[in-house]
């Protein structure tokens, strides 16, 4: 069988990912509200649970030492049951519910009206990302402003996926036939890892993405660059590469805006117009590099067994040209 090539964590770290992929180190208001709620839930239940467990251990140890018969006093016992089994748990649970409803309110709507709307469509096993107001189409990498909420409209092209950036917000399913909404806001610039959270097939495991939070000016520059069509090949090698690209039917699945369009209305593969500006390949499976790109194109199944891209057999020259072309897509 095939194996996923090890993905070196340093690639992510180098890409600027801070800290772990953890729910408990929130980096945005929604995740922070939920983290606050977690501590309420934790203390609210753990104290009751710990006391109960201590009581059990105490009862067992004590009763082994105390000789003589036990006692039965039905009325006192019923009173005790009503206090420990009904009154105290009800009080705790009501407190937890109040905290729950308050947090639900807070995370339901962003603090301010989002200025930017992004459409994300889940595909078996990658993410299509569109900025409808800017004419940007990209994949597996979502750029957002720092300190301001964005609105995400989430959909699916095939099966159910779930969109989740643990450090920024809770998850939201992407169900075919539905458009669900979520808002994201990051406190500070950085790269935050996201991950598909609903089983969607063989490569559910390697369906991740990156959220890049940038100061406004950087984001504006990025949007402008991404909105441009692909630059025509400038070197001979990359011009030949475009031919290879057409010849080996990459066009069937991938759009390169301005140069080629996929043959189907909805592209089955990621948009490659600015491929080389992205940090990773194949939904954060490999860091972007010439070597990985080559390895991916020749045998995608070795890196991500079961993904939807077929292997291509190329001569070394063809590969060289194709890489030159793809690397020109910035």
């Amino acid at each position: 069988m095939t194996r996923a090539r090890p993905f070196i964590a340093s690639a992510l770290l180098a890409a600027g990912c801070q800290g772990p992929h953890s729910v408990l180190s929130p980096a945005g208001p929604a995740a922070r509200s939920i983290e606050g709620l977690w501590w309420v839930l934790f203390w609210g239940t753990i104290v009751a649970a710990a006391l109960t467990i201590v009581l059990i251990v105490f009862v067992v140890l004590r009763r082994r030492r105390v000789p003589g018969p036990g006692t039965v006093d039905a009325r006192r016992e019923d009173r005790w049951l009503l206090v420990t089994g009904v009154a105290i748990p009800a009080a705790i649970v009501l407190t937890l519910l109040v905290a729950t409803f308050r947090t639900a309110e807070q995370v339901a709507r962003p603090p301010t009206e989002p200025a930017l709307t992004i459409d994300v469509v889940g595909h078996q096993f990658w993410w299509e990302v569109r900025y409808p107001d800017h004419g940007v189409v990209t994949a597996n990498e979502i750029h957002i402003p720092v300190g301001r909420p964005v609105r995400l409209r989430l959909g699916s092209a095939d099966v159910i996926h779930s969109f989740w950036v643990p450090r920024l917000a809770g998850k939201m399913d992407m169900t075919p036939g539905h458009v669900t909404e979520l808002w994201l806001e990051a406190d500070s610039p950085g790269v935050y890892r996201g991950q598909c959270a609903e089983l969607c097939g063989v490569q559910h495991a390697l369906m991740a993405f990156l959220v890049v939070a940038q100061p406004d000016a950087e984001l504006a520059a990025w949007l402008e660059a991404q909105a441009r069509p692909a630059a025509a090949p400038v070197t001979d090698a990359s011009a030949r590469g475009l031919t290879v690209y057409r010849q080996f039917d990459c066009v069937a699945c991938h759009a390169v805006r301005g140069l080629t369009r996929p043959q189907q209305a909805r592209a089955p593969g990621p948009d490659l117009t600015h491929l080389s500006s992205r940090r990773t390949l194949a939904a954060v499976t490999l860091p972007m590099s010439r070597g990985n790109l080559a390895g991916w194109i020749l045998d995608p199944q070795a890196h991500k067994p079961g993904n939807r891209m077929p292997a291509t057999t190329l001569t070394p020259d063809q590969l060289h040209d194709l890489l030159a072309f793809l690397e020109g897509l910035r």
């Binding site: 069988m1 095939t2 194996r3 996923a4 964590a9 992510l12 992929h21 953890s22 729910v23 509200s33 977690w38 934790f42 753990i46 109960t52 009581l55 059990i56 067992v60 009763r63 000789p67 003589g68 018969p69 006692t71 039965v72 016992e77 019923d78 005790w80 049951l81 089994g85 705790i92 649970v93 937890l96 519910l97 409803f101 947090t103 639900a104 309110e105 995370v107 339901a108 078996q124 095939d158 159910i160 779930s162 989740w164 643990p166 809770g170 998850k171 939201m172 169900t175 075919p176 036939g177 539905h178 909404e181 890892r193 991950q195 959270a197 609903e198 089983l199 097939g201 559910h204 067994p305």
Partner: protein, 635 residues
């Protein structure tokens, strides 16, 4: 003095009247509830080992990042089969078998209301379980998770027979569960010993009744939704196909309308079993019996109003999810009432810390820990963070393994002497308990942390550098400690079966009727049918009870002893009439085989469905013709 009618020759006559046919035909035609119950339990334990071995492969694959022990395709089959085996083939059938075995003994009757239906249910269960595993052996097992969401499981995205196995066999299994439920309800409501009013009914019987009613109302929606999926796959329908107006969320609603009650279908009977074990080892009646009954019934009802808490991330309106959050948290109250009733009984009793009680104490601690993570998950904003992560995996193993499997073993240690006449060994039993307690926590506690660290469930591997390595390794080590515990139990089981200490009729001096007959019980259970005047008819009143003889009724007229049971009224168990029961029969096996052909045949050719249905109709005719033997010649 009150056991007058049970003279030796009555015993002999009863043994002859109730005897099974000898040989293979006899074995295949067995309908006695004890045989069927034991078959259910043994088969279920075998599936537990299978599911456990699947889990060990899962853990071995996840021990380190980027491991290549199994392919992604196989991994998806493994966790789907692990979950489906544990939920559908181990826990629920085991508990049905336990109830089928124990309920008639606890209520003082000789067999169940529809003995052949019992046998039919068992055969269907066995065939469905085997058919599901044929898929695994052939490498084409179901692979879309135990809740099998379309469209991933639909015809468009799951090619090959994988999901067909799931659809065919799970639907079939529901048929078996429904048969057991009907059986249990009628038996419990109509066959209790004279005097066993509802308020003198042992809590295990109450819990079996609640379980059976939950099955009646929870399983049909699953049958319907898997029928829909089957029609999508086999007949080109579009229930879940968005392109043709279908709706994937329909599956989720129907599945969880079954799935959530299903987890309480598992919990309620073990709560009943624990409510029997605790008084036996605290040497006093359970504190707050009425509150405990009320809690079991409340759990049964409320559990039908919680299903949406599995769909918090589906994007449903906040108002709706808030309602379900409130309802889910309210289930704390009946759970806590039961827990404190047990604690209070232990507190006010004189404890004997035998193995069954040890497992019960393990259960209490683990259920509380799993229960509080349940409460956290019920909080919908928090759930959107940990849904579909290892935090949920930790929650449900705490409640399933700690909250259900631990008490299942408590029940095994407690009732093994009744079933086999021998005690399970203590030394291996203690080894089993401590290995389980240690292994369990080492396996599943780290999964909470993995969930917080963002590790999604159902991933065949993970990349290094995300901080998931050490907790995964720990979990894998724990799983193998658990397996050692299971091994200790397996050895103990067979060694005690062959050479365990003789138990005697009543090794624990317990208060309920199943201990008032021999171990193992004779095929007719009781020679003198008992009459009941108290919840613990074998105990004197008050704390530290002493044994007392059980009263009995004269049922068998001398010279006219038949294969009959006593029907009593539903509420206050007044004697009503005698019910002739059918003898052993091969029709249940024939019907089960025909029904299996119809369901499993759907996978290959729809024509087989028609053949299977026709054969089923024939088998039914044979069944009912046999049901009405001409009355015996008058004495």
């Amino acid at each position: 003095m009150s056991t007058a009618p049970a003279e030796p020759d009555l015993r002999q006559t009863l043994a002859r009247v109730w005897a099974n046919k000898p040989g293979l035909v006899g074995a295949l035609g067995q309908v006695n509830h004890k045989t069927i119950g034991v078959r259910y339990m043994v088969t279920a334990l075998a599936f537990f080992v299978v599911g456990g071995l699947e889990a060990l492969v899962i853990r071995a694959q996840l021990a380190s990042p980027n491991a290549g022990l199994v392919s992604p395709e196989l991994y998806n089959q493994l966790f789907t089969m692990h979950g489906s085996t544990m939920m559908f083939l181990f826990v629920v059938p085991f508990l049905e078998g336990l109830a089928i075995y124990l309920v008639p003994l606890m209520i003082g009757t000789r067999d169940m209301a529809f003995p052949r239906l019992n046998a039919f249910g068992y055969w269907v269960y066995l065939f469905a379980g085997l058919a599901l595993h044929v898929g695994l052996l052939a490498g084409v097992a179901p692979d879309a998770g135990w809740f099998n969401y379309p469209p991933l499981s639909g015809p468009g995205y799951s090619l090959g027979p994988h999901i067909d196995y799931w659809v065919a066999t799970i639907t079939l299994l529901e048929v078996a569960a429904l048969a057991a439920a009907v059986e249990l309800i009628v038996t419990i409501l109509r066959q209790r010993a004279p005097g066993m009013t509802l308020s003198r009914m042992p809590l295990f019987v109450w819990s079996a009744l609640v379980m059976a009613f939950m099955i009646v109302f929870a399983m049909p929606p699953l049958v319907v939704t898997s029928l829909f999926l089957g029609l999508d796959r086999f007949a080109g329908m579009h229930f879940f196909n968005v392109a043709a107006g279908g709706e994937p969320l329909l599956w989720q609603h129907l599945f969880w309308f079954f799935g959530h009650p299903d987890v309480y279908i598992m919990l309620v009977p073990v709560q009943g079993a624990v409510s029997m074990i605790v008084p036996a080892f605290a040497r006093r009646p359970l504190a707050g019996y009425r509150w405990a009954v009320l809690s079991l019934v409340a759990i049964g009802f409320v559990s039908f109003g919680l299903w949406v808490h599995h769909m918090y991330a589906a994007g449903l309106p906040v108002l709706g999810t808030s309602f379900f959050a409130g309802a889910s948290m309210m289930i704390t109250i009946p759970s806590a009432v039961l827990i404190f009733a047990w604690i209070l009984t232990l507190w006010r009793g004189r404890l004997r810390l035998e193995l069954p009680l040890l497992f019960v104490i393990g259960f209490l601690v683990l259920l509380i820990l799993g229960g509080i993570t349940g409460i956290m998950l019920a909080s919908q904003p928090f759930d959107t963070q940990v849904h579909d992560t290892y935090f949920v995996v930790a929650h449900f193993h705490y409640v399933l393994f700690g909250g259900v499997v631990f008490p299942i073993f408590a029940a095994i240690y407690y009732w093994f002497p009744k079933v086999t006449g021998r005690m399970l060994g203590k030394r291996l039993g203690h080894a089993h308990f401590w290995l389980f307690l240690l292994g369990f926590n080492v396996t599943f506690f780290p999964m909470h942390l993995l969930g917080f660290d963002g590790m999604p469930r159902r991933v065949y591997t993970y990349l290094p550098g995300l901080g998931w390595e050490s907790n995964n390794l720990l979990a894998t080590i724990g799983a193998f400690i658990l397996a050692l515990g299971a091994l200790a139990f397996t050895i103990n089981f067979f060694a005690s079966l062959l050479g365990g200490r003789r138990a005697g009729d009543d090794p624990w001096q317990a208060g309920t009727l199943e201990w008032a007959t021999a171990s193992p019980p004779p095929i007719y259970n009781f020679a003198a049918l008992p009459a009941v005047d108290d919840l613990e008819p074998r105990w004197t009143e008050g704390p530290d009870p002493r044994p007392r003889p059980v009263a009995s009724v004269a049922f068998d007229a001398p010279g006219d002893v038949r294969r009959e049971v006593l029907a009593t009224t539903a509420l206050d168990a007044r004697p009503e009439h005698r019910v002739p029961l059918p003898a052993s029969s091969l029709w249940p096996l024939a019907l089960a085989a025909s029904v299996t052909l119809a369901f499993v045949g759907a996978m290959t050719h729809l024509g087989l469905v028609v053949v299977g249905a026709a054969l089923s109709a024939l088998a039914l005719v044979g069944w009912f013709r046999q049901a009405n033997p001409a009355p015996e010649a008058p004495r």
